[in-house]
Structures are given as structure tokens and as C-alpha cells.
């Protein structure tokens, strides 16, 4: 498995380079928006990747509450963190696109606002993980992840209805997308998916290592102290036998 990591890294780098070339050179220029539309090739794949990662987080959180497997918990945590990174990219590139096209940086439109709320929920998830002890964090965070997932449809509908009552700038608008644009979009998404996988993998390895160090430190602080009733601690079976008598 570990040998696969550099291969994936090289592959991702190549794909990202190819994707940039496709997005900036090969893809046709949009008629009304001009070159700014090329932000689309970064903005949309990032959004899809973020949503996919948040979905992985939900599945892993539910699985953790059922099975109590610490590896699944690590997966939930990793996918939330990388998901927040991609969601940040979406929220930053969005206004940069909106400014020249709509003339405003931000509007409280359904999709924009829902994405912002999603980002807020997952940032609070990461904060919870950061501020709780490692023994309790998994179950608490999993509960919060499920609450967040239940919240998203309600957020979407409430904002959708709120916006239909109030005037707002006309944005987006349907219309068909050139098939060449679709191709470039999919190439970019594949590249970003590989990149996300790479980041998740690195973060997962870091998390496993962190847990090992934490365990070693806990053990060390137990064994390093010779004053206490060390026989029971060094050999838990002794303690068990005594209490069993």
C-alpha cells in the first residue's frame, strides 16, 4: 500500500497539470462571460468533491456509531477536514467569479447560502473534535455529523422559500453547456478527486501516527512512574486476578 502513495502522487501531479492545460487553453471561450468562465473548471469540481467528502463523513459517522471502529472514525474526521478545505475553495472562488459576471461579490442566493451554512456546520464539527478528549470525540462528533446532515435539507428549503419572497439579482440561468466544456470539466474533476484522495491519505496516515504517539505517551506516563502500585498497571492480569478473588 505504501508504495502506491508516490505513484498516486505523481499521477495526480500529471493529471492536475493536464487539467490546467485543458481548462486554460483547450476549452472554448464562453461567449457572454469570456475568460472568467474558466473559473468554473476549478469552482464546480471543488464543490462536487467537497459534497462527496461530506457524504463520506456522514456514512463513516453512522458506521462508527454502529460498529465503534476507530479506523472508521479516523476516516470520518479526515473526510470532514479535507472537505472543509475544498468547501473553502468553493466559497473563495465563487465571489471572484461573481464579481465580474454579476457585478457583486456575494448574494444570499440558495446555493451560495446553503454552501456557506454547510461550511459553518463542518467547521463547528472540526472545532468539536479539536476541543474534546480523544476518548469521547468520536461518538460526540458522529452525533453532530448526523445532526448536520439532517439540517441541510431544512437549510436549503428555508432559504429557497425566503428568497422567493424577496427580490434578488437574476443569476445563473440555464442553457446548454458545450460538450467540449463538459469534457474539460470532467477531466478537472478527476484530477481534483485524485488530489483529494491524496490529501485524505496523507491526513489519514498522520492521524494513525498521532494516535500511536498518544498511546505511547499514555503508556510511558504510566510506566515511567515507579512509585504507584506498578504491578497492577504493568500487568493488567494481576489486577484482574485480584479483583476476581
Amino acid at each position: 500500500m505504501k508504495r502506491l502513495f508516490p505513484i498516486l502522487a505523481v499521477l495526480t501531479a500529471l493529471m492536475l497539470g493536464y487539467a490546467v492545460y485543458q481548462a486554460l487553453v483547450v476549452a472554448p471561450t464562453e461567449r457572454t462571460m469570456g475568460d472568467v468562465q474558466r473559473i468554473f473548471y476549478y469552482h464546480v469540481p471543488s464543490a462536487w468533491t467537497a459534497f462527496l467528502l461530506f457524504f463520506v463523513n456522514l456514512v463513516a459517522s453512522v458506521a462508527y456509531l454502529v460498529k465503534r471502529n476507530p479506523k472508521v472514525d479516523a476516516l470520518a474526521m479526515v473526510s470532514a477536514e479535507v472537505g472543509v478545505v475544498f468547501c473553502t475553495v468553493v466559497l473563495v472562488t465563487g465571489p471572484i467569479w461573481a464579481r465580474p459576471v454579476w457585478g457583486i461579490w456575494w448574494t444570499w442566493d440558495v446555493r451560495l447560502t446553503s454552501t456557506l451554512v454547510l461550511w459553518l456546520i463542518y467547521v463547528s464539527y472540526l472545532l468539536l473534535r479539536r476541543f474534546s478528549d480523544s476518548a469521547q470525540a468520536p461518538a460526540l462528533a458522529a452525533a453532530l455529523a448526523i445532526f448536520g446532515a439532517l439540517d441541510i435539507p431544512l437549510v436549503y428549503f428555508s432559504i429557497w422559500f425566503f428568497r422567493t419572497q424577496h427580490p434578488q439579482p437574476v443569476i445563473g440561468g440555464g442553457g446548454s453547456i458545450d460538450p467540449r466544456m463538459w469534457r474539460v470539466l470532467l477531466i478537472n474533476w478527476m484530477a481534483f478527486l485524485c488530489f483529494a484522495l491524496l490529501m485524505c491519505w496523507s491526513r489519514y496516515r498522520l492521524e494513525t501516527m498521532r494516535r500511536e504517539v498518544e498511546e505511547a505517551q499514555a503508556l510511558e506516563s504510566l510506566l515511567g512512574d515507579d512509585r504507584g502500585p506498578s504491578a497492577e498497571i504493568r500487568n493488567p492480569k494481576v489486577a484482574l486476578n485480584r479483583s476476581g478473588q
Binding site: L65, V117, L120, I121, V123, S124, L127, L128, F131, S132, D133, A135, Q136, P138, A139, L140, A142, A143, L144, I146, F147, G148, L150, D151, L154, V155, F157, S158, I159, F161, F162, Q165
Partner: protein, 241 residues
């Protein structure tokens, strides 16, 4: 599991449902009696929302027309921040003499405890709202142009929406390093649709421009969804090490 192995069947489930009710009632009366004796939470909440009313009406100096548009947001933001005071001390009281640990090892159903706490908070926050609403009406010269009775379901459903999730997240934030700080950080993002529902519904009634039906249905859905989720997941939170 082991409960059913004793008798099983309807008699057993009837028994457990009555004990559940007894436990809920006992915890609820205990909490309300404690709060009634000290009135710590209620007094600080009242004073806090009074401050919000005064500061905002000073800084806006609203006319009757304008105040109809902003009052919904103001009232609910004041109540939201004030409710955090009550929510934060929900579980802190039980930590002092390891009451929560005692509860965890006892065979009492966790949901009964949760319902008692949520109902207690609901009672206190509703009392606060009942006391503060006349002040808001006086300071902002409010008069509803829409059907005013609809403010009652919005108030009740909205308060329950804040309180049920607030009680749950207070139990979560109890386990973190910076307890009191953590609760609003967890509660506010999840509460966004509920707060939007309360604010937009209240504004719709005050201005009389739109119907508030959608917001009442939204709040009802929110309440049903999250009450179920809280009851389903509270045990996991209570038992988390």
C-alpha cells in the same frame, strides 16, 4: 435487553413507560424547584435581553414602520443569546456531585432524563419570552398588521426548536475543554433554518405582507426531525466514555 428477559410482553413495556414518566416528572420538578429558589438563570437572562432591547432601540431609533421589519430579527436574536445562558447550566448542575455519573450507571432510561431537561429549559425560556415580549412591544411601538395569533405557534415551535437542540448540544459541549464557549459554536450553525423560520415568520405577521404558513410548517418539521434525532442519539452522547 435484560429488562425484557424478566417478564416481556405488554406488561413490561407498560411498566417501563410509567417509570419513564415518573423519572421525567421527578427530574423536571427538581430542576424547576432549584431554579425557582435561586432564579439565577432567569434573572441573568431577563437582564441580558433587557440590555439588548435598550441598546438596539438606542442605536436604531426605529419608527413604527421600520421597526416592524427589524423587530422579528431583534426579538429572536435576543432570545437566542439569552437561551444559551439557561442551556449552559442545564448539565453543569449535575456534574457537581457526580449526579450524571450516578445517572449513567442507573437503569433509568437516558431519554427520560433528556426530556426532563429539555422541558425544563422550554419552561424557563418561554417564561422569559412571556416577560420580555411586552417590553419589546412598548419600546418598538409594535402592532401586528397580519394575524397576530399565529405568533403563538411560531413562538412555541421556535422555542422548542432552540431548546431541544440546545439541551442536546449542551450535553455534548459538557464533554469538551471549554464548555460554555462551545455550546453556541455548535448550536448556532445547526439552528440557522429554525432561526430563519422564526424571524421570517414573525416579520411576515408583523408587516402583514406575506403568509407565515410556510414558516410554521418548517418549524414543525424542524421540531419533529430534531426531537427524534435527539431522542435517538442522546444515549450515545451520555454513554460516550
Amino acid at each position: 435487553m435484560h429488562k425484557q428477559s424478566f417478564g416481556g410482553g405488554d406488561a413490561m413495556s407498560l411498566l417501563s413507560s410509567t417509570t419513564r414518566g415518573t423519572i421525567t416528572r421527578a427530574t423536571l420538578t427538581k430542576d424547576i424547584r432549584l431554579e425557582w429558589r435561586s432564579k439565577d438563570a432567569l434573572n441573568s437572562m431577563l437582564f441580558f435581553s433587557l440590555l439588548v432591547v435598550v441598546i438596539f432601540s438606542l442605536s436604531f431609533d426605529p419608527l413604527a414602520e421600520e421597526s416592524r421589519r427589524i423587530a422579528g430579527g431583534l426579538v429572536w436574536v435576543a432570545f437566542l443569546f439569552a437561551a444559551v445562558v439557561a442551556l449552559n447550566q442545564t448539565w453543569a448542575r449535575e456534574l457537581r456531585n457526580q449526579v450524571l455519573d450516578a445517572y449513567r450507571v442507573s437503569p433509568a432510561p437516558p431519554n427520560a432524563l433528556f426530556m426532563a431537561k429539555a422541558l425544563g429549559n422550554f419552561f424557563i425560556v418561554s417564561l422569559l419570552e412571556a416577560l420580555m415580549t411586552p417590553l419589546f412591544i412598548i419600546f418598538y411601538n409594535l402592532r401586528a398588521l397580519g394575524p397576530a395569533w399565529q405568533l403563538i405557534p411560531i413562538g412555541l415551535l421556535g422555542t422548542w426548536a432552540l431548546v431541544v437542540n440546545g439541551t442536546f448540544f449542551a450535553a455534548i459541549s459538557l464533554r469538551t475543554r471549554s464548555r460554555e464557549l462551545m455550546l453556541p459554536l455548535l448550536l448556532f450553525p445547526i439552528s440557522i433554518p429554525a432561526v430563519l423560520g422564526m424571524v421570517a415568520g414573525t416579520t411576515a405577521i408583523l408587516t402583514g405582507e406575506n403568509s407565515a404558513h410556510f414558516w410554521i410548517v418548517l418549524l414543525l418539521t424542524y421540531d419533529v426531525v430534531f426531537t427524534t434525532a435527539c431522542l435517538a442519539l442522546f444515549e450515545k452522547v451520555l454513554e460516550a466514555e
